[in-house]
């Protein structure tokens, strides 16, 4: 029983990175901009977060630094893609390379540094409840923020006026423009907010999960988050489901290996990817559902007055 509680706890911790990054990319893509630079933004956020945590000893300063770094990177991308209409895919890839190289270069001073004792985390009172306590309530606050963010984003996108405008921009920027909305500024805002969330995801990885800085510490999480958002058909709750599924199956396969289960470890290593793809594809297989949820102008440039 205790082992299941620990498995749940490990799932929540490990899924938060993907969840944060996935929600950030969701915001991006709902506005119609496809940002393939997720990995680069996460790496820069991870470095900024680690550096800030090292200098200040405070997690929240670290997350703020990560968010700022991610937002700045996203802003560069945004200006290139939204105002200068460069190809979104190519620019996103360039952003990934740039983020990787920049973080590696600036980060050489931080490799091999430690952050010191982190102390224990959890919600006081709730964390000692039998089974549910260790399972759900001993997480870093960022895990709960990610869950709250999912609800907030869901409310924002589907229940608020601004969210409607954002979705409108993503579906048909020409119509939004005709109605008088400043499409490019809205898109830039979405891109920067998405970048900030990716930066926070990276900072969470390097400050809470690892916690260390080494070149390439995100090890592909940015790409996984990108795929996750697409497979989750741009719905916040499904992004979170996919993130936790991925994290959970990863921990499960380690657990199975540790118990001596006789399946080749390479097959077990494939399991997180396979299961997430299969589950998400199955629950979103209705073509109408996909058409409704996919932002129609995703990846296409917008020229006002063309």
């Amino acid at each position: 029983m205790n082992e299941i509680a620990l498995l749940i706890a490990a799932t929540l911790a490990s899924g938060t990175t993907l969840a944060m990054a996935g929600l950030g990319l969701l915001l991006n893509e709902k506005a119609g901009v496809l940002n393939l630079g997720a990995e680069g933004m996460m790496l820069v956020g991870a470095l900024a977060g680690f550096g800030a945590a090292y200098a200040s000893g405070n997690d929240w300063v670290a997350f703020a630094a990560g968010a700022a770094a991610g937002a700045v990177m996203a802003m560069v991308f945004g200006v290139l893609v939204i105002w200068l209409n460069t190809n979104q895919y190519a620019t996103g890839l360039a952003l990934t390379l740039f983020g990787g190289g920049l973080s590696a270069f600036v980060g050489t001073n931080f490799a091999g540094k430690t952050l010191g004792d982190r102390g224990s985390v959890g919600i006081p009172g709730l964390m000692d409840v039998p089974f549910l306590g260790p399972a759900l309530f001993r997480q870093h606050p960022m895990t709960y923020i990610a869950i709250a963010l999912m609800f907030a984003l869901g409310w924002f996108l589907y229940r608020s006026r601004s969210g409607l405008v954002l979705r409108g921009v993503g579906e048909s920027p020409e119509s939004a423009h005709a109605l008088g909305y400043r499409v490019r500024w809205i898109r830039l805002g979405a891109v920067m907010a998405g970048g900030a969330l990716c930066g926070i995801a990276g900072a969470y990885l390097s400050v809470v999960r690892a916690p260390l800085w080494v070149e390439g510490v995100t090890a592909g999480s940015g790409w996984i988050a990108l795929a996750l958002t697409t497979f989750a058909t741009w719905r916040p709750a499904r992004v979170l489901l996919g993130a936790y599924l991925f994290g959970g199956v990863t921990m499960l396969q380690f657990y199975l290996q540790g118990e001596g289960v006789e399946i080749a470890s390479q097959l077990l290593a494939m399991l997180p990817y396979l299961s997430t793809i299969v589950v998400l594809a199955l629950i979103s297989r209705n073509p109408t559902w996909i058409r409704i949820n996919m932002p129609a102008s995703l990846g296409r440039p917008f020229h006002p007055g063309s």
């Binding site: 490990a10 490990s14 360039a94 430690t114 260390l212 070149e215 380690f254 540790g258 470890s265 290593a269």
Partner: protein, 384 residues
Amino acid sequence: MFVERKRALMKAAALSALAIAALAGCSKKEEAAPAAAAPAASAAAAPKADPVKVAFVYIWTAGDAGWTFAHDLGRKEVEAEFGDKVKTTIVEKVPEGADAERVIRDLAAQGNKIIFATSFGYMEPMLKVASEFPDVKFEHATGYKTAPNMGIYDSKFYEPAYMAGIVAGKMTKTNTLGFVGSFPIPEVLRNINAFTLGAQSVNPKVKTKVVWVSTWSDPPKEGDAAQSLINGGADVLLQNTDSTAVLQTAEKNGKYAFGWDSDMSAFAAKAHLGSAVANWGGYYKQAVKSVMDGTWKTDRTVWGVKEGMNDFIKPAEAVPADIKAKIEEIKAGMKAGTFEVFTGPIVDSTGKERLAKDAKADQEWKDKVDFYVKGVEGKIPSAK
């Protein structure tokens, strides 16, 4: 007019994005062929004193505080010893495979007289390049193929792994040890077995759980693997992967672990029980000297505690004095050549006897280790 200005802006933006992407690329130091920008400058224009050019190919960065860090310390020893009689070059983060071939060929073409490749997966690429450059000496770490101008060198990590096992056997309260393994190759299996044998020598009830992460370095994954071992009851961990994540996860959970490849005592105040290290400097200095003297010949060099290549350092305060004394005794035995980690009887996890009583394993036996000793749980996944 507006359109023209926009076009000029786009051109400028595209050019700068291209330049940035070219600069970012994969990180390299000194001359090496990059993707877009200016090609590598002239290779060996002979300077006055004609220093011997020595190159190192690393699998990751020297900042990983692990495997590559240890090799880089060795390289720095070479520089300290030979001063301006040598010129060292490093190329970091070279993936194993076709990329490695390109990098090694490039280094050979640039006039490096001896090239060290520090990972198992560089074996085939290096062999191929060695046949094209008969005057350049190639040295491959942890491999098993040689050529007239290619030698191999290796360390006996199983010796400090055994000593770590002794400490672990004493310090464990649950009698369950954990091991985070990279790939199920003989080198790693030797370490798992040595760790278990060492622990069983002071605590016969010990068992070891193994989790494979299929990578040499991926800190979040290593941390997750360590966490799952701890969740499964292990309270002392050892690893064969390169980062400090396992040690830090142990610290977070109030368990014990060891440093691996280099001294990791600074990373965990309470969890660190000792570090199993390799000191590559001695071998590097010898190899470079032999190239300078012209006495280099292809060989397979496997050094351990005896030659100063391996060590188990910084045992923690918490380790009892009698265990520390036992470790010193074993080190002395290794240095004298009388103590062999793999001494029979050794029985594997299926019950089959692999080494008879009192027999000492030879190099061939050690190279072919493909089993778990009794006490290690699970089955070995088929190797890479």
